[in-house]
Subunit: 212 residues, 2 copies
DNA sequence: TAGATTGTTAATCGATTAACAATC
DNA sequence: TAGATTGTTAATCGATTAACAATC
């Protein structure tokens, strides 16, 4: 790799998949793995794997493959999974509460350290050892790098801005609202009704059988 | 539109966004809307909107725009949001319970009618008026078109197969596992740790300032 | 009619894939 | 060395965008 080329977003997403595969291989004490094997597990082409990795350096040994522990470390470092991430969660309804206890987060080094809700009934309660604070206490300096939005749709824009003003630079948005927060803030939207709608389009609709 | 051309997957995803915008416009009693306005609300280009719609027919009036009620109907029909969808949910943990009560679903015509869990402690409980049944009662004929997988990762593959054997043809998968279920079954993966990992990559990493 | 906006074609852009020289 | 697999280039593929004729 010579020039620092822009890394495609799909590459980043696949890197997370590779990370999971590599963690599995590492658990199984596999020492070396080929791009072919990673590709098979991740459901992509081998050349895709090599191309994706090549954006970040050369991690393999020709004729052999990739040393699992080393590659796992490197991928973790690229995704910054080798450092703790402090997460602020807004919305302590059913979804927010489920997210607060989501077992996968801790294993990937994500730690929800703040929970906010606007309902006085929720404020003061403990969820997963965290005391729920009033959303009205925002904005304030939070030392959080990530934020999760699990509030009702109409509140989304305001709460998102409160989080940004509190220093959060990346947001996971479950509200279905379209947020415009400027280019300094990354947003990933998880829209559950959208997902079901896409599935509804496909359900029972056999892929067009090419006739002729 | 003449030939039945393959519709790109991103187009389907955007259609769901347009649907939401159109529903908003309809609530506001707006009668006609331009591709420009839809595009602005959806965060895409106007030509993208027109291209996306053109895969399914001609819904606009030159010089004027699109009649909102008619277009809303048509988009709903394309996504099959004009008919009820029966959903089977497996996994009644925190996440599953939150999904069972997710307010957005009913509004989009998705109805969770079955909830399964493998834990005897959960079976027999009522969640949102639905009695939790044992996962071991699957497979059986379910009259569900969609399935939601909210079980722990290791159980994912088996439970997915049980749902498919029960007649489900589309699956929303929260387990993070990579499912291979053949081409007749659509799968959408929602992987929360992946999303956070992608955000972690971007957090505090200013977009590469071109330094020329 | 003049102005506006669609539907569609063609150009552009960017990502995926195949192919292969480098090399362990 | 012979066999294998990487890293990278070039070809392919598919989606986005711009442009504009059609037409309300």
């Amino acid at each position: 790799m010579e020039k620092r080329i822009r890394v495609p977003e799909p590459t980043i997403a696949r890197l997370a998949t590779y990370f999971r595969c590599l963690a599995d291989l590492s658990d199984q004490e596999v020492g070396v793995v080929s791009s072919e094997e990673i590709a098979f597990r991740a459901g992509v082409k081998a050349s895709q794997v090599r191309k994706d990795l090549s954006y970040f350096g050369e991690f393999g040994v020709q004729g052999l493959g990739y040393p699992v522990p080393r590659l796992l470390d490197r991928v973790a470092s690229i995704l910054q999974l080798d450092q703790q991430h402090r997460v602020a969660l807004v919305g302590a309804g059913n979804l927010g509460t489920a997210l607060a206890g989501f077992p996968g987060f801790a294993r990937w080094n994500f730690h929800i350290l703040w929970i906010f809700d606007s309902s006085p009934a929720k404020v003061g309660q403990e969820i997963n050892k965290i005391t729920v604070e009033p959303t009205s206490s925002l904005p304030r300096s939070l030392a959080a790098d990530l934020g999760i939005l699990a509030v009702p749709g109409p509140a989304a824009k305001d709460v998102a801005q409160l989080l940004v003003d509190s220093g959060v630079t990346a947001l996971l948005n479950f509200t279905g609202a379209h947020l415009h927060l400027g280019s300094k803030v990354s947003v990933r939207n998880v829209d559950l009704t959208h997902e079901l709608a896409i599935l509804a389009y496909h359900a029972r609709r056999p892929d067009p059988t090419p006739e002729s």
